[in-house]
């Protein structure tokens, strides 16, 4: 990984040049108490690059949101939480700051008979907190303004000053649904900064955790789409499978959500040969049950009729908005952090995309099933290698002040950047796949019918907690 020295006005040109050379922006954040702004980019071959810009004396840096709209939320966050002014980012709508009046954070909508429907932050169901403001005409959505950060707990700030190994707990508690992926992204970043790398046994343990997490999440997401259409039987079926997968997690790691199973610099996860073969059997049973449930869904015409052409985010918009994970692949973009991951089970990994990918609810749902099959296959390979023993990281590249980690979470690429001061965390930035994809939900909603929004939302099934941190 390359970290450049702070530059001034050349920053925009350098970012533009990297983007033109095919690099993808992954994270943008304020560092060194608001004196620096850094942007992390990755190349298709897995190399990473961090460009740095120094803030002016008045705390302003040039905005790159026009070059790479995917970083617009990052700039808004750095503005709200670190007081950075991004010149050229107009209007600067608040993201984490909830004290701004309505007119400042919503987009003005004019025309014949538009009205606003405000939903949340408290919802009629077991749903996380988020406020959605729909601008609608009749039942048609013109525009959606989402206000998140109700679950902002200042986790990144809480991690600052803590020992690098201890701060993992803070990051992996950002959210339950992605805890393994978040923890692994953090660990990779931490090990890179400390000059370590994962040996095959350690990498195998982590790949196992990340894929176990993917299995229960994808089962849960299929259930959620069923609920969004009123397909109660499908919802019940896939929720039961979700719970089975979580119980399998508990029997392997001691926690249904895999909390506490990732460590920096090693892995204490031990699975004996008997448990490995039982786990493989249970996963085969889950796979068969998921396939039979999926067949029922595929042959239910009234269910299928709800999915096509709804909530489209096309490939071009996915690239522009920086959409990652199943949502991007459902639009035909074959990008996946696992494709360049050195982890066993991932080494021959090729991302799959649906046939004639259109980026609608149908494709996002179908993509979950494609990836579920992949995850089961990867788990089979990983479990075939016998019992899992504790492992340590080995010496890697030279240690540095900054580490960058990327993992494919169930919702897409999650990145974590650590800046260290000795053995303590100086700054940590966790940018989850949910954070990357939220703008796409608003994009997908525009032009759809209001009663279709729950379905569209569930086809992304993003976390609020790990976006808000």
């Amino acid at each position: 990984m390359t970290v450049t020295a702070p530059v001034g006005s050349a920053y925009r040109d350098r970012v533009a040049a990297a983007l033109a050379a095919g690099w993808q922006a992954r994270s943008l954040y304020a560092a060194a108490d608001g004196q620096l702004v850094r942007i992390a980019l990755t190349a298709a071959d897995g190399r990473s690059l961090i460009e740095t810009v120094a803030a002016d004396s008045d705390g302003s840096v040039p905005s790159v949101a026009d070059l790479v709209p995917a970083m617009a939320w990052d700039e808004r966050e750095a503005h709200d939480l670190h007081g950075i002014t991004f010149t050229g980012h107009e209007p600067m709508r608040p993201l984490a700051n909830h004290s701004a009046p309505l007119a400042e954070w919503t987009v003005p909508v004019r025309g014949h008979d538009p009205y606003q429907v405000a939903v949340g932050p408290i919802h009629a169901g077991v749903i996380e907190s988020g406020h959605f403001r729909f601008h609608v005409v009749g039942d048609k959505i013109l525009h959606l303004d989402a206000r998140l950060f109700y679950k902002h707990r200042g986790l990144e700030r809480a991690a600052e000053g803590q020992p690098i190994t201890a701060a993992l707990a803070v990051v992996s508690r950002a959210c339950a649904a992605c805890t393994a992926a978040n923890g692994v992204a953090y660990s990779i970043a931490a090990e890179q900064a400390l000059g370590l790398r994962a040996a095959p046994q350690l990498a195998r343990a982590r790949a196992l955790l990340v894929e176990l997490e993917r299995v229960w999440n994808h089962l849960n997401d299929i259930a959620a789409v069923c609920a969004g259409t009123g397909m109660a039987a499908g919802n019940a079926w896939f929720l039961a499978l979700t719970e089975q997968a979580r119980r399998l997690n508990a029997s392997l790691t001691g926690h249904r959500f895999l909390f506490g199973s990732v460590q920096v610099g090693g892995s204490t996860l031990t699975i004996d040969a008997g448990t490995v073969s039982r786990c493989a059997r249970e996963l085969a049973g889950l796979r068969a049950a998921a396939e039979s449930g999926w067949r029922e869904l595929e042959f239910n015409a009234s269910f299928q009729d709800r999915l096509g052409g709804v909530g489209i985010v096309a490939a071009r918009d996915c690239s522009r908005l920086g959409v990652v994970g199943p949502a991007a692949r459902a639009a035909g973009l074959a990008e996946d952090a696992r494709a360049v991951s050195p982890y066993p089970g991932h080494d021959a990994f090729r991302p799959v995309t649906p046939e004639n990918a259109a980026g609608d609810v149908k494709d996002r749902l179908g993509q979950r099933m494609l990836e579920l099959r992949q995850a089961f296959a990867i788990l089979e390979v990983l479990l075939d290698q016998g019992p899992l023993l504790p492992a340590e990281a080995v010496v890697g590249d030279a240690p540095g002040p900054v580490g960058f980690g990327i993992t494919e979470s169930p919702r897409g690429a999650t990145t974590c950047i650590i800046e260290r001061a000795g053995d303590a965390v100086r700054r940590v930035r966790l940018r989850t796949a949910s954070y990357a994809n939220w703008p796409a939900v608003a994009h997908a909603a525009a032009g759809s019918l209001l009663p279709d929004f729950p379905l569209i939302n569930k086809s992304f099934e993003l976390c609020y907690a790990c976006a808000d941190r």
Partner: protein
């Protein structure tokens, strides 16, 4: 009054007022079973009513009498409708007559009262639900009117008692008119009772609600009234389906004996249909009701053309 008339009136009133909540309860119970869950008991709606009845009502700030009176008005019109819809051919007139056109009017009053209340509170979700309900009801009412017209033409009366005796026995099923009316009425039942594929009675997803929408602003006793209204609607439509659009015998006692079996069977059918079918796209609902109307029209044409 004959003993059969007294028995018919008793079943009509006790069934409509007291037993009605059992119908949605049964549907919920079987739906849960079909989803592989134990689910709540079929008596759950009664427990809900008891719970709500004990609670005080909460008024929306700034709302007027329109909001205040809507639950009672809706309940009163459904009560009138229960008095109007007989369960047997020789039911006595309970003071509201037996005219089927009046029934459609009474159902419309209940709908109007709730829509007006939604407008009165100005709540976004209530208004959204009410506007969707009114939009779809434009098509439901046409289909309902045409379906009962089939039965009315077949029996040459709009009096429900006359229609019950006219559609009793096997001979009416030899011509295509009444079966076509039955097909149309089946869709009307699903739409009017607010079940899938038209509406999802289980959902509280704010953005998808139709019938649940206007109920959001009510609590306590008012909400109990409205829950009962929804149950009474199930009773009315399923009873109409049983006594007009399903085969039934001539004798009063035989009709009374068959009614519970047919009601329970229809609840089971609704549970199965709701398990197999998801909620359809909102803007396609009028199309399905349009099909119901066309099927009913075909029944009318078949009858007038003398096809038998």
């Amino acid at each position: 009054m004959t003993s059969t008339a007294i028995a018919g009136a008793a079943v009509q009133l006790v069934g409509g007022i007291v037993l009605a909540p059992l119908l949605p309860g049964l549907i919920q119970y079987w739906k849960a079973r079909l989803q592989g869950r134990p689910g709540p008991s079929p008596l759950q709606p009664y427990r809900e009513l008891r719970r709500l009845w004990r609670k005080s009502t909460v008024d929306v700030a700034g709302a007027t009498a329109v909001y205040r009176l809507a639950p009672s008005l809706a309940a009163a019109s459904l009560l009138g409708a229960i008095g109007l819809v007989p369960v047997v051919a020789d039911s006595p007139d309970l003071g509201v007559g037996h005219d089927v056109i009046a029934l459609i009017g009474l159902l419309a009053i209940a709908r109007f009262a709730l829509a007006a209340a939604a407008w009165d509170t100005g709540s976004g979700f209530s208004l959204m639900g009410a506007s969707r309900d009114l939009t779809i009801s434009v098509f439901t009412e046409v289909a309902l009117l045409l379906a009962v017209t089939v039965a009315a033409i077949v029996t040459r009366t709009t009096s429900l008692t006359g229609m019950i005796s006219g559609t009793a026995g096997g001979h009416v099923w030899s011509s295509p008119a009444l079966p076509l009316g039955t097909a149309a009425f089946a869709l009307v039942v699903i739409a009017e009772t607010g079940r899938q594929p038209f509406d999802n009675p289980d959902t509280h997803l704010e953005l998808t609600m139709i019938h649940e929408g206007p109920l959001l602003e009510y609590a306590g006793r008012d909400l109990a009234y409205l829950h009962w209204v929804s149950a009474a609607r199930h009773w009315l439509l399923l009873v109409l389906a049983a006594v007009l659009f399903l085969p039934h015998p001539h004798g009063t006692w035989a009709q009374l004996a068959l009614l519970p079996a047919e009601l329970v069977a229809m609840c089971a059918a609704l549970a199965v249909a709701e398990t197999l079918m998801v909620k359809m796209r909102l803007l396609l609902a009028p199309r399905l009701l349009g099909i119901a109307a066309v099927v009913a029209l075909l029944g009318i044409v078949a009858r007038q053309a003398g096809i038998s």
